[in-house]
């Protein structure tokens, strides 16, 4: 076969090209021809197809994502905002923290182990590329029904993949979520978050500037894995007949090697320490196409690449395949000529393959050569940053009104103490509310020795500085059931919960990352959910003063006509001056007083109770009061700093009784609870009203604490005392901790062990 050079393409304008198979639309192909003034070469077509995919170009989502910038609150903390590999936040003392959550949903359904493993690998390289040392990961996960046979295939594979990769990288896994719902049966959500730490002066950006600077590809050799991962896999709806789709798409999933990634991390950090790079980019989705075009597009010059110098695992790969390959554990650096020798020396020290594949040129073209013949000649911006933009039609689905009208208030409620007791056991033992330790015990939470809090705590906390005890806390949350009932409110509730979780640990929330998991953008109903969720999240970030620093959009989470619940997952990062003042969730001291902070209303729509007891989804989600969330967070942070509380747990899904059960079990202490006069026992125990937390107050601090709440206008109701070895709700029921623990901890091992 003749090589499709630029000259050949110019000479053969009529040659039919496989644009549709590569996932491009007809008008997109026409636009490529218009930009180039000729038909693209095979290599150019490959590059545009992956870079203009939904996954890389955000073509359906970016008109809505704009709000995160436009409505961004003023924040002194933001050092690098949206658009780079990850946002960077100032946490004081000269430290900066970068964090981001990303999806690896589609690959994880096709091949759970490798899909989840390479999801970790990809987000870790994003963090590394900013100049930071990765210090922790977390995984928000969504699976189909817990008792569905395919969940037994997907979940153990995903968990083993996260553990197999993350444990081997030496990064503590400090939290995340596990949610089951049949809506995720054919589209599990595997999101991965990574946090990294650096000094301000170490921030690196993805750009290629300085004519004559060398472009170095280093890390793993390039193989035939992951070709078209972003275009044909992540940017299309699965066929309803998923078994056929699964096998046909399997080669589009990459294969990870965490050992190689560990070497890449240490090697890159040593290179940073010696200030040897002018620009750096990791290779993730769209591989070399993405790295070369993004580096060149963001820089001041052009770039020339000799593609035949790329080290290969498979010598038969074509130039198109090399450009599209998503082989893992690779990075691309721009290095001044004088630093190249030292750069290569460090790579040799870490046994990392490194090759000069090109250089920064004058002018503004990205030119790629194959054995001396030119196969790519494009304006890099047109590939990387000027992809198509769609204003997809969106409309509120016609079923939305009926769903909201199907109020959870009509569901039968427990009337006696015995019925309440039985339903508490049902709730805490339901797959979504049960202990997740069967999963999280497969992850290393100790490595690096700086883990202050890890699951099942409200948020994970990492010590940043061993001398000063500066630290950061991170939490992720999302509730697809709430978002299905009302995507605007659901997105705000996800942010509110994550924000509250961070505050409950004693840290001050600073910034947000989000992973927006939705159905097909070509479905106006799913697009409406997406638009509403973006609007809700941007509005709420403005009120809470926490800017979105970056994240990821995953669309096409849909099997046939059936989309997942709209699932915005929100990660919040907070800072704490002194990690020794952290607030854990465990009730560890008998005699301490329990206070419920916030207001409790009759809000059961979308609740865990309505799912666990009645398998029902309808009505409206709990109302959001962002000013209240802010006040609650301030109280939790002040109380932690001044030693007024010994434990705190946020109230969210499962309501008061779920939080109470978790804090009691964690501390090995029971509690005597009195139902407040103005509340119905059922509503008190199960309602999911937002803006609430449960805290344990030492008796000596009670007055100081209640005075502070009173002065600032936060309702604080004394609801009981830590005591005994049972949860005793006076006048209603008593539940021994042993029985509670059995119900809470047996569920997941019973399903998956």
């Amino acid at each position: 076969m003749t090589l499709d050079t630029v000259k050949h393409a110019t000479d053969t304008p009529q040659t039919a090209q496989p644009w549709a198979e590569l996932g491009l639309k007809e008008d997109e192909y026409a636009r490529i021809r218009e930009i180039l003034g000729r038909r693209p070469t095979g290599a150019e077509l490959a590059m545009y197809s992956v870079m203009w995919s939904e996954h890389c170009s955000y073509k359906s989502s970016k008109v809505h994502l704009k709000q995160f910038g436009e409505k961004a609150p003023e924040s002194d903390a933001l050092l690098v905002g949206i658009g780079e590999n990850a946002g960077v936040v100032d946490v004081g003392q000269g430290y900066a923290v970068t964090f981001k959550v990303e999806s690896h949903n589609h690959p994880s359904y096709i091949e759970p182990y490798q899909g989840a493993a390479t999801g970790i690998g990809g987000i870790v390289r994003d963090i590394l590329a900013m100049g930071a040392r990765p210090v922790a990961v977390m995984d928000p996960l969504r699976f189909g029904a817990a008792d569905h046979p395919d969940t037994r295939r997907v979940l153990p594979g995903v968990v083993a993949g996260i553990g197999g990769y993350g444990n081997c990288l030496g990064l503590p896994n400090i939290g995340g979520e596990v949610v089951f719902d049949s809506c995720y049966q054919g589209n599990p959500l595997v999101n991965a978050l990574c946090v990294g730490v650096m000094k301000h002066e170490d921030i690196h950006l993805a750009q290629a500037s300085g004519t004559g600077n060398k472009v170095i590809l280093y890390g793993a050799r390039t193989g035939g894995d992951g070709i078209g991962g972003v275009s044909v896999l992540a940017s299309e709806t699965f066929d309803a007949d998923d078994s056929a789709g699964a096998s046909a798409n399997r080669p589009a999933v990459q294969v990870g090697d965490p050992f190689q990634e560990k070497l890449l991390i240490e090697c890159t950090l040593e290179i940073f320490r010696e200030h040897l790079v002018a620009g750096i980019q990791d290779l993730g989705g769209a591989g070399l196409s993405c790295a070369t075009s993004e580096l060149a597009s963001a820089g001041s010059g052009g770039m020339r690449v000799e593609l035949d110098t790329v080290p290969l695992r498979d010598a038969t790969l074509s130039p198109e395949e090399i450009l599209m390959s998503e082989s893992q554990e690779r990075m691309c650096a721009v290095v001044e000529p004088g630093n190249v020798a030292r750069f290569l020396e460090i790579c040799e020290k870490w046994d990392v393959t490194a090759t000069v594949i090109g250089e920064v040129t004058e002018g503004d073209r990205l030119e790629i050569f194959w054995h001396g013949e030119q196969i790519v000649d494009v304006p890099p911006r047109s590939v990387a940053h000027e992809g198509p933009t769609y204003h997809r039609p969106y409309a509120r689905p016609d079923w939305q009104d009926a769903l909201q009208a199907d109020d959870a208030a009509r569901l039968p409620r427990p009337a006696t103490g015995d019925e309440l007791r039985a339903q508490v056991l049902t709730l805490v033992g339901s797959p979504n509310q049960a202990a997740k330790s069967w999963i999280t015990d497969q992850y290393d939470r100790y490595v690096l020795g700086n883990t202050v809090l890890a699951q099942p705590e409200d948020g994970g906390m990492i010590r940043v500085d061993e001398e000063s005890n500066l630290g950061v806390a991170v939490a992720t949350d999302g509730n697809g059931r709430y978002a299905k009932l009302d995507p605007y409110t659901g997105a705000q509730l996800a942010l509110a919960e994550s924000y509250r979780n961070v505050a409950a640990t004693g840290a001050t929330p600073l910034a947000v990352t989000d992973c927006l998991n939705f159905g097909s953008p070509e479905d106006p109903g799913a697009m409406w959910q997406f638009a509403e969720a973006c609007r809700g999240l941007a509005d709420a970030c403005q009120v809470l003063g926490t800017p979105v620093t970056g994240g990821n959009v995953s669309l096409y989470n849909q099997t046939g006509d059936t989309a997942i619940h709209p699932t915005p997952v929100v990660g919040v990062l907070g800072v704490i001056d002194d990690v020794t003042r952290r607030t854990p969730m465990a009730f560890s001291q008998a005699g301490q007083l329990l206070y419920l902070l916030g207001d409790t209303g009759d809000e059961l729509g979308g609740s865990a109770w309505s799912q666990a007891v009645h398998d029902h989804l309808g009505g409206l989600p709990p109302a959001v009061d962002l000013e209240r969330e802010r006040l609650l967070a301030q109280i939790l942070v002040s109380a932690s700093r001044d030693g007024m509380i010994d434990a705190a747990h946020d109230l969210s899904d499962g309501g008061f009784v779920q939080a109470l059960a978790e804090s009691c079990l964690r501390g090995g202490n029971g509690a005597r609870i009195v139902v407040p006069d103005d509340l119905d026992p059922f509503v008190f125990l199960f309602s999911e009203s937002a803006g609430r937390a449960l805290v344990a107050v030492p008796r000596s601090e009670e007055l100081r604490f209640t005075d502070m709440c009173g002065a600032r206008g936060l309702p604080a109701t004394r609801v009981g005392v830590v005591d005994g070895d049972a949860i005793d709700v006076q006048g209603q029921f008593s539940l021994p901790l042993a029985e509670l623990r059995a119900a809470h901890e047996a569920t997941l091992p019973g399903l998956f062990a």
């Binding site: 083993a160 553990g163 197999g164 444990n167 081997c168 990288l169 030496g170 090697d257 965490p258 050992f259 190689q260 560990k262 070497l263 870490w350 046994d351 999280t440 015990d441 497969q442 992850y443 290393d444 939470r445 100790y446 490595v447 690096l448 020795g449 700086n450 883990t451 202050v452 010590r463 061993e466 990690v579 020794t580 062990a753």
Partner: protein, 226 residues
């Protein structure tokens, strides 16, 4: 004069910084050692840390055994240098034949990370003299291949010679024969264990400070030897 304890970094070592920190917290001078160098830089003792050296390719610890630094470690360990192998380090010590037996995949086939109760069975080694025999401690355990195996004769010999250093309590987490969590060589200067004492040296980040005793034991042993 401070006591210098070296911690070897192999490619794929993960808990090396933690082991260095533990040495420091215990009051020693931590010294980073590199797998390609044969020099131990005049350290008084060596820790082989946890991780996945060389990606666990072939078998855990099988390749690390052939690294330049291990030539010197093996030679000096035979001459009495205190050596502690933690998790992957234990695997390296077995592969190097400084300790008998081998570590195999956990019997339940999953990686396990948990706070593990242990009984100190031998408080006479260079690394355990700060404990008392029968003392119960809790330190993190985290491994995928932590099942200790050896033939019956070797196991009987280890028991008879008092060379079982640690045993699992409250349930065997990985299928180790006779609940063995750690063993020592005949001279008592080389100890290998699957649990991670370096993760239990401060209450802020560990479940207890029970792990500190391994490092203070070594410091005491070395001071006494002077």
């Amino acid at each position: 004069m401070t006591t210098r304890i070296g911690v070897v970094t192999f490619p794929g070592s993960l808990d090396d910084t933690d082991a260095l920190r533990a040495v420091r917290v215990a009051g020693g001078e931590p010294v980073a050692l590199w797998h390609r160098e044969t020099s131990l830089r005049q350290v008084d003792a060596v820790v082989l840390p946890g991780g996945f050296s060389y990606g666990d390719y072939l078998r855990c610890g099988a390749i690390a055994r052939f690294s330049p630094v291990m030539e010197t470690v093996v030679e000096q360990a035979r001459a009495g240098l205190p050596v502690l192998g933690i998790c992957n380090g234990f695997q390296v010590l077995c592969e190097s034949h400084l300790l008998p037996g081998a570590l195999t995949r956990n019997d339940h086939l999953h990686f396990v990370c948990r706070d593990q109760r242990l009984a100190v069975a031998n408080a006479g080694t260079a690394w355990t003299r700060d404990y008392t025999e029968g003392q119960e401690i809790t330190v993190p355990l985290k491994n995928g291949e932590g099942g200790y195996v050896a033939d019956e004769r070797t196991l009987d010999m280890l028991e008879a010679e008092g060379r079982v250093v640690l045993r699992y309590l409250g349930g065997n987490p990985n299928g180790s024969r006779r609940d063995i969590a750690g063993i020592t060589n005949e001279a008592g200067n080389v100890v290998g264990l699957m649990p991670h004492p370096e993760h239990a040296v401060e209450t802020l980040t560990g479940p207890t400070t029970d792990g500190l005793g391994f490092f203070t034991s070594a410091l005491k042993t070395l001071v006494d030897a002077r």
